[in-house]
Subunit: 285 residues, 2 copies
Amino acid sequence: MLAFTGSRLDRADNLRADPDAIAGMMNWRARLLALDGLMPGLGDDGALAWSSLAEAPEGCELVFLGTDEGKPCFAAVPDRGDVAPRMANPALWQAMASLRPDDLAIYGGARSLVDWHARHRFCAQCGGKTVLAKGGWQRDCTNCGAQHFPRTDPVTIMLVEYEDRLLLGRGLGWGEGRFSALAGFVEPGESLEEGVAREVFEEAGVVVRDVRYVASQPWPFPSQLMIGCHATAEADAIALDETELAEARWFTRDEVRAALAGDGPFVAPPAQAIAHHLMTWWIEE
Amino acid sequence: MLAFTGSRLDRADNLRADPDAIAGMMNWRARLLALDGLMPGLGDDGALAWSSLAEAPEGCELVFLGTDEGKPCFAAVPDRGDVAPRMANPALWQAMASLRPDDLAIYGGARSLVDWHARHRFCAQCGGKTVLAKGGWQRDCTNCGAQHFPRTDPVTIMLVEYEDRLLLGRGLGWGEGRFSALAGFVEPGESLEEGVAREVFEEAGVVVRDVRYVASQPWPFPSQLMIGCHATAEADAIALDETELAEARWFTRDEVRAALAGDGPFVAPPAQAIAHHLMTWWIEE
């Protein structure tokens, strides 16, 4: 199972547009996701903690996450979003490693949503104030009436293969020996396949063909949709873009297998990252 | 070739972060994409029209689109974006049908970008004014310093199959007889596969399995990334969400083939839409 997938919530999108339905669900059966800022609150059993709506700060905005076995689930928008989205946070990684998969998926989706609200209190079109609408799946401008929707940013992440070796990169600022799949945001005006080819050429100077889709995963830092692909390189000469990567290297199947087992020539990405899943897929293929 | 793919521009992203490089490219060799609002300007030969930077309105913001055989290409941000993004515009469809594929791709990418700028002159975080940065691939808030990036919204669009028949829907407000593949925005906290399953169940009450990726295409109205998939239905009973669709029906392979040939029991989507491509793929499979 890919991390951040498999939420057990019913998003019940048919209720979002009905303010009476949303208000009606804000009752004693409703559950409020425990968050400390954007960090998950954990119960004694290590599961996501929930409280009642009474615990929500006075006057805060509430997002309707969906229903869990009929129980309405909400999350409160925090004062501040993730101003400089980053995830170099040991407590977060620990929570990610310990949460049950369906809890992690609920947390990830909620985190992306409330973070988006916290960072979109004003209208990009006119600068006016915005207010939460449709149970938290929209914001409306109180001045010009523009509607704004939560953002999901597609990112391609790709295994590039040449003669049974894999191209992996070390990002700027990463620790020595850490390598992962190359990745980049899909830009306006390109297909997934074009995005993959552009990124690999930009970052490593490698031309690829035969891009194919493998798997996808949401990544809520702040709101990426990671789209995992495989591509074949035309040649193995690397021309590194040093403003993007510290290093790029080709690794053999044995080296990747050993790294995934924790005993290789590089440190593989953690199990929660789709890159780990892609490498495992490649080894088992 | 999928519409809006195959741009011949080199995005030259290594130059974007260098203000001197951008300024240096604003010279007599530079070309300005002719736009009337967001509509493409066409030359006598039916190709995209270009002029010199001297034709740009005084003081307008310029987006660096990339280079075309070494020539820097720019587009001017119009006064207004597509306030209520819609594409029921016969002139636009005509331009889409007549432009060369690589011109259509350049136009689509440029349209998404300049439209995004026109609708993001203020900071969603603080309401301050924003200014164009990185050659038009970023906006910076002049008040709080927040950085904003062009938006690309992933949308799943899916062929749902059951016993050699295809589930197609007629959107609200579409003409009688027009059917296309179901589609919907990917939401925070779900994978592509989960998004497909949720949308089909929401709109038609149909449960699907075995979702697989087929193809993708940018769709610049305003900035979708259409991600085409195929899925298998568990059963063919339909429970229509009448707030989303006017109609949903199963069509046989012969019916879809006839419709694509312009002589079927429904009006198929135009060749520029990925739904047309997906149906053709299914027929030829």
